[in-house]
Amino acid sequence: MELYQGPLDAKEIFGRWLDEQSGSNYGAYIPFIGIIREEGSIEALSFDIYEPILQSWFDAWQERAAREGAIVKMAHAMGDVPIHTSSYVSAVFSPRRRVALELIDAFVEDFKANAPIWKYDVINGERIYAADRSTPMDGAGLLA
């Protein structure tokens, strides 16, 4: 798991992960690259991350992938990420195509639902919580 201050260098990450696994005999490599879209008048998105729980979440996924003979990778930006740059890169390596396609889908969707990351629109230099696009994590409301 890799966390960066500001936007990700998607090409560097893609190539480095490919090189790291070049002798591992995986047949399928599926990265997912998240890019900041220009919408409304935002100039950037900004992210807060709570690393200890993100790391546990990622470790659990690493174990789940290992049970299928696969591995997962993840990189995310902290702080401001300008539009048209990358905030998120994740990936699956697997011996087999079918496992890889199913894992990348489940991994990315669970990431959206349960990774402890908070998103803000940056408009005129101001940071506004993206409440309408955020979802309560599994088990939310326990203390209500």
């Binding site: 729980i53 905030s87 990431f111 908070w118 994590m137 939310a140 326990l142 203390l143 209500a144």
Partner: protein, 73 residues
Amino acid sequence: MIRVEFLGPIGKGPVEVKANTLAELSERLKEDKALADWLPKCAVALNDAMVSDLQTHLKTGDRVTILPPVCGG
């Protein structure tokens, strides 16, 4: 005393609270009107492990984290 931390957009500094269970902690936190809108949407971690049982016991030095709705990616 239990240390309670509020993450991301909640915008509230950590507080020290007396509570023997998460249920007791819930009662204490609900006294803060500023948290009323947040608590129904927040997940909870105890010492950085997600928890789902209100009867979970707490002991001095425990750290409870309040996690509001997320949107990574």
